[in-house]
């Protein structure tokens, strides 16, 4: 089996174990990143779903907000963000909230309505032959792209999966769909 460098999961709050399980199924052991020193041990980072406001508070408490920003200055640190993770990385957030500002997008939190409006739908994704079940939970919507951003999937006319440099931003949750294909694609950075 191929040997991968150590990869981390941002472990402030959220569905950390779900990313861990998918990566474990792909043969990868992950490190939970809770402090700046943990970030030094990893070559890539997954940002889970959860509550972005909770994660923000804990990011600044731990100093990881600054550490992640520094680590990303050279634009060669791969990150994979789902839902709340993508909100953390966006440059602009509606309603207004601080962020790490590493993805040149404007994102609206909870844009499809409350939980009863959450939905699952098959998505066409660039680079995947077959449809992928997108699970959207109180999902955000990417409403503006500012820079050179690649769109890998769109739903109801909004991008739901984007890529800028080595940062991937998804507004749905592949980690709870029991489908490893998108995580597997991300690992190609180390092939």
């Amino acid at each position: 089996m191929k040997k991968y460098p150590p990869l981390g999961i941002l472990a402030m709050q959220g569905d950390i174990q779900e990313h861990q399980k998918i990566l474990w199924d792909l043969g990868i052991e992950t490190i939970w990143v809770k402090k700046p020193e943990d970030l030094k041990k990893v070559e890539g980072l997954f940002l889970p779903g959860g509550e972005s406001s909770t994660m923000l508070r804990l990011l600044s408490f731990t100093g990881l907000d600054i550490a992640i920003n520094e680590r990303c200055q050279k634009k060669d640190f791969p990150m994979f963000a789902t839902c709340a993770g993508t909100i953390l990385l966006a440059r602009d957030v509606i309603p207004d909230q601080r962020s790490l500002s590493l993805l040149d997008i404007k994102i609206q939190r909870n844009a499809y309505g409350r939980q009863v409006e959450s939905f699952e739908v098959p998505l066409q994704i660039d680079g995947l032959d077959e449809l992928f079940t997108g699970i959207f939970i109180r999902a955000p919507k990417i409403i503006e792209l500012y820079g050179e951003i690649e769109i890998l999937s769109t739903y109801r006319e909004s991008p739901v999966f984007i890529r800028q440099d080595k940062i991937w931003g998804l507004t749905f949750h592949p980690e709870i769909s029991q489908d490893t294909r998108i995580h597997k694609k991300f690992l190609e950075y180390w092939d």
């Binding site: 472990a11 402030m12 709050q13 959220g14 569905d15 950390i16 174990q17 779900e18 809770k34 779903g49 959860g50 509550e51 406001s53 909770t54 508070r57 804990l58 408490f61 839902c83 709340a84 309603p95 939190r109 909870n110 309505g113 409350r114 939980q115 009863v116 409006e117 959450s118 939905f119 699952e120 739908v121 098959p122 699970i135 939970i137 109180r138 949750h173 709870i176």
Partner: protein, 294 residues
């Protein structure tokens, strides 16, 4: 392409998003803001916290809808609210106003002495309390997408939550070592659906849904204790707004859940956090809320 809403996958997946986090009881929009600013992943809107329900007595019901709506408007995080056990109409009402999660709760006075709500009938997800594996699996069998220990709400005393979490985790560990022939008899003994007991075994001793701790959490150390025993996250009821400095206590408990297995961080978090709520001895209670539910 067809969109599906209200599937079990979506309900249970939503509960996953609360993991490693803290859900706090609030009774006003201001308290909801304090909870959100402290890092709560969700707030539970109710009229009286359990400690006051216990003290004041009377029938405890679903909170006023005007109050729940005001709380929903005041924060961006998801809002939960409680219904009485078996009260289908209260659940219908909460679903119709768009509450994000419904707690069919023993903290309120039960409306039905035999039956819980058939939660499969709803798009909105439900969380229910449990004291042991059988009770947890009966609730999941009825469609609950999230389980929490009952503990003993409103006491600030962690012993009952510990008892219930240890019971559930211990029973699940035993299930993993059973052969499939033993599973049916065990399911009968604990009054749980056979298929769900089998699922616990197949998942290596985990519930098929998220399992939180509730009922008695009053300090950062209590939150850490419950996480160490295997909780996926923590509900704090009276413990925040019955403490001396709610904003500080709320923040400390959020941090404690993240650092639950790091004693040095916990020591820092536990410093000067203000007096926690006054606790109650279980032996002296007139009413045990945990005995409600069937």
């Amino acid at each position: 392409m067809s969109e599906l809403k209200g599937t079990f996958k979506i309900k249970e997946g939503f509960a996953d998003m609360f993991k490693n986090g803290v859900i706090m009881d609030v009774t006003t929009p201001d308290q909801a803001k304090i909870a959100e600013d402290a890092g709560a992943t969700s707030v539970m809107a109710l009229e009286r916290v359990p400690a006051d329900i216990r003290k004041q007595g009377g029938v405890a019901r679903m909170a006023d809808i005007g109050l729940i709506k005001k709380i929903m408007e005041s924060v961006n995080i998801p809002v939960m609210a409680k219904v009485r056990i078996g009260h289908i109409a209260e659940a219908n009402i909460l679903q119709s106003i768009g509450v994000d999660f419904v707690d069919e709760s023993e903290v309120l006075t039960p409306a039905d002495d035999k039956f819980h709500i058939n939660k499969w009938d709803y798009k909105v997800p439900f969380v229910c309390g449990a004291r042991n594996l059988g009770e947890a699996l009966r609730r999941i069998g009825e469609g609950a997408a999230m389980i929490r220990t009952k503990g003993e709400a409103g006491t600030g005393n962690i012993i009952e939550a510990v008892k219930h979490m240890r019971a559930i985790m211990g029973e699940m560990r035993r299930v993993t070592s059973m052969d499939n022939a033993e599973i049916m008899t065990y399911a009968k003994e604990i009054q749980a659906p056979y298929e769900l007991v089998l699922m616990v075994k197949e998942k290596g001793g985990r519930l098929p849904v998220v399992n939180f701790a509730a009922g008695g959490v009053a300090t950062p150390a209590d939150a850490s204790l419950m996480m160490l025993l295997g909780a996926d996250g923590v509900f704090v009821g009276s413990g925040i707004f019955k403490s001396k400095d709610p904003a500080k206590m709320a923040q400390a408990i959020v941090k404690a859940v993240m650092h639950y297995n790091d004693p040095e961080e916990l020591a820092k978090i536990s410093e000067n956090v203000g007096t926690p709520m006054i606790g109650l001895e279980i032996e002296n209670l007139e009413i045990k809320l945990q005995e409600r539910g069937w």
